[in-house]
């Protein structure tokens, strides 16, 4: 079969303009596929192309922004390490490049309908959803769905279309109300939460996408693909941590993180959770008391998620949620609400996680906002009179006040109070606004990195992570550079990449370099659509040779391991180039004051400023970027065959002069 030509859907782009109602299908040019392979990297190319025609400095919530949905290259093929989709847009949270990924069968259905990418532009006059029924694509009214939760929308649409196999991606009320931190709910229960994609959809009056994909995918070499499945099952079987990961998912980091001193407590004032709350929010408590059955994302042979059911007497607050069924909070929820806000109760944490998912917002941002507000309350920066004015009712913000956190999440979702509006813009804007109103320092207590994006984990004694959080193209985040040598100290990997085993350790040696390599490696794996968490210990330990075989078996296109890596590196460089076009320079790659200047209260007692600037320079150097400005260089972009990108940057004064 000729790749990209037939029913496989490989390389097809569906374009929907909500202003004009125009719908078009086109191919991704083969030279683009050779450079970017597919998935998130082709998303980046489509994003770059869009902003060659549109001013990159537009407001993210203007109709000129774009929303691109792109399943990974391996998504929908049955490859058993997850099936992810990436949503790419300009972020309303940070104002810079933004993207977010999720699992969910929606991603596979989109491929089975014949599309690798959906590009949505413009703004509908009234609420709509996009109906994709294989070749038949329509923009349909969503007026009756507006105001409904994503789960309710799904129920209604399946009933209306009499098809239980239909897959959906919706926004909730936070997105409709354009809270900047709004997320996208994909399939029944997976979230694309970072960077505010839900608000972008809301600003377009786009309630969701509904897909019936029944065409399937033609695999180039099914036998070869099945063989890679067997190899993957074997990796899963022999990987020592599979068992604990299946039992506890990402919450399994809870114990090691406390020993390492990276669990943020009381809004990061401490980095070790004290006994008492530590034991109450331990993952084993969840397993023993609330866990009902394991859950798995679509096409994942590991399965790290879990469904809970509250009977009413399992924990202190369980009686409030008697009968509630939902999906266990991941570490981000456990940390955001359990330890940042000091609500060490699994029934409560799961409920707050569920609230964030039902209103559709980023739980990291919501949790960090609540943690900041509690610290400001403790410090006497904000008082009951402020809360009465901002919420329209009395509210106390003592640590652990569950009622208060519920009220704030609700206010963010509904955007119906002054505090809801402030917190709906994310923790950075919240801190800034309170500082402006009160005239005293407030932002210095907020937990954020580049672009103001929030993160509830302490990174001061893990320098590679700290650099990731400052340089990541989508703003403060762990997933763009995941896989570091400080948390996973493998001397063999250190040797492989850096010629010395010594970078594997809790030290600053080569951590800027490690961060740069990991960004490119993650760029490569993200485009495939596999899950970040499920492979063997560390991103750097994935085998590009193996994935080169998998991609060939699926598409019939040969990409050497080096070519796959280059595709990842190109995607990082395109995202970076966009940020340079809107004016980002070295000084914008930064961390919040707490992480930079305040030594940790526990353990290694580190602060980032002791190593930050040196490692940032090292990071840029390993990327081939200018260490003074952080800008890209023509020679490096030429090596990546991105000369046209260099031309754009040169025209706009965003290329490093050489």
């Amino acid at each position: 079969m000729k790749p990209g030509a037939g029913i496989s859907g490989f390389g097809k782009v569906l374009r929907v303009d909500l202003t004009s109602g125009k719908i078009a299908i086109e191919d991704v040019p083969m030279e683009v596929r050779r450079k970017y392979v597919g998935g998130s990297a082709v998303n980046d190319w489509l994003f770059w192309q869009h902003f060659l025609k549109v001013d990159p400095k537009i407001h993210p919530l203007s109709p000129e922004n774009v929303m691109i949905a792109g399943p990974g290259v391996l998504t929908g093929t049955g490859f058993p390490l997850g099936a992810k989709i990436r949503w790419t847009f300009k972020s309303p949270v940070t104002g810079i490049f933004g993207d977010s990924s999720s699992g969910g069968r929606f991603a596979s259905s989109l491929k089975w309908a014949g599309y690798d990418h959906v590009v949505v532009t413009g703004k509908a006059a009234k609420p709509v959803y996009i109906w994709i029924n294989n070749e038949e694509v329509e923009i349909r009214s969503a007026e009756l769905l507006w105001g409904q939760t994503p789960l309710e929308c799904g129920r209604r649409i399946r009933k209306e279309l009499r098809d239980q196999d239909i897959e959906t991606a919706w926004i909730g009320q936070a997105g409709e109300n354009q809270a900047h931190i709004a997320s996208i709910r994909v399939s029944r229960n997976r979230m694309a939460a970072r960077c505010g994609g839900g608000a972008v959809m809301g600003s377009k009056n786009l309630k969701g996408l509904v897909v019936r994909g029944t065409k399937g995918i033609r695999i180039h070499d099914p036998q070869a693909l099945f063989k890679t499945f067997d190899e993957t099952f074997e990796i899963i079987r022999r990987t020592a941590r599979t068992k604990i990961f299946q039992a506890q998912g990402v919450t399994s980091v809870w114990e090691p993180y406390n020993i390492l001193g990276v669990n943020s407590f009381h809004n990061g004032q401490r980095n070790v959770v004290p006994p008492g709350p530590y034991e109450l929010i331990h993952p084993a408590v969840y397993q023993n008391k609330l866990g009902r059955n394991p859950l798995s994302c679509c096409d994942c042979a590991v399965g790290c998620s879990s469904a809970y059911e509250v009977k009413g007497d399992e924990t202190l607050y369980a009686h409030r949620y008697r009968g509630e069924i939902g999906t266990r909070a991941e570490y981000g929820g456990q940390a955001s609400f359990g330890s940042l806000c000091d609500i060490p109760d699994w029934a409560a944490v799961n409920h707050l996680w569920k609230m964030c998912n039902d209103y559709n917002m980023d739980a990291f941002e919501a949790g960090c906002c609540c943690g900041l507000l509690m610290e400001l309350w403790e410090r006497g920066v904000i008082h009951s009179a402020d809360l009465r004015e901002w919420m329209g009712a009395p509210l106390s913000l003592d640590w652990g006040n569950l009622d208060a956190v519920e009220e704030i999440i609700k206010a963010i979702g509904l955007q119906n109070t002054a505090l809801g509006k402030m917190a709906g813009k994310g923790v950075y804007q919240l801190g800034k606004e309170i500082e402006r109103i009160k005239g005293v320092p407030a932002l210095k207590y907020a937990l954020y990195g580049k672009g103001g994006a929030a993160h509830p984990e302490d990174i001061r004694n893990t320098p590679a992570w700290a650099i990731n959080y400052a340089v990541s193209t989508r703003g403060c985040d762990h997933l763009k550079g995941l896989g570091t040598l400080d948390k996973i100290p493998d001397p063999k990997l250190s040797m492989k990449y850096f010629g010395t085993p010594d970078a594997a350790g809790l030290n600053t040696l080569l951590k800027g370099a490690s961060s740069a390599i990991c960004e490119n490696v993650n760029g490569m794996y993200n485009l495939l659509g596999t899950c970040t968490f499920v492979c063997d210990r560390d991103q750097l330990a994935y085998s590009p040779e193996f994935f080169s075989r998998v991609v060939f078996a699926v598409t019939g296109l040969e990409f050497s391991p080096d070519e796959l890596y280059l595709a990842g590196e190109r995607s990082v460089n395109l995202e970076k180039a966009f940020n340079s076009r809107i004016g980002l320079r070295r000084e914008d790659d930064r961390l919040c004051e707490r992480w930079m200047r305040e030594p940790q209260a526990d353990g290694m007692r580190m602060k980032a400023e002791d190593y930050f600037e040196d490692l940032k320079s090292e990071q840029y150097a390993w990327h081939g970027w200018d260490t003074k400005s952080s800008l890209q260089k023509r020679t490096k972009l030429a090596q990546l065959d991105l000369q046209a990108v260099a031309e754009v940057l040169a025209r706009e004064g965003a290329l490093c002069p050489e």
Binding site: E457, L482, I488, A504, G505, M604
Partner: protein, 86 residues
């Protein structure tokens, strides 16, 4: 030498130990001595803990083959699985 040993994320080993934390008094001075002591106490099955990471006092990674790495009285040595995640 008195050591505090934490073994996390190995349910079958934790069952043998009756918990995830043990306090030991060992006659020795390095990681190899600790591992030997654990093997004597619990048998070869304890080798499994070397499949994860080893952290000394929350601040220093130890490598399983670096048996001569010195330990000191009062050290906390943790064995666990950690993914690079958040």
């Amino acid at each position: 030498m008195n050591l505090e040993v934490k073994i996390l994320g190995f349910p079958d080993i934790q069952e043998i130990l009756g918990g995830n934390e043990i306090k030991l008094e060992i006659d020795g001075k390095n990681l190899g001595d600790l591992l030997e002591h654990l093997r004597n106490l619990y048998g070869e099955v304890i080798q499994k803990i070397l499949e994860g990471q080893i952290l000394r006092n929350g601040r220093e990674w130890l490598q399983p083959h670096d048996l001569s790495h010195p330990l000191e009285n009062g050290d906390q040595v943790s064995f666990f699985h950690l993914l690079a995640g958040g």
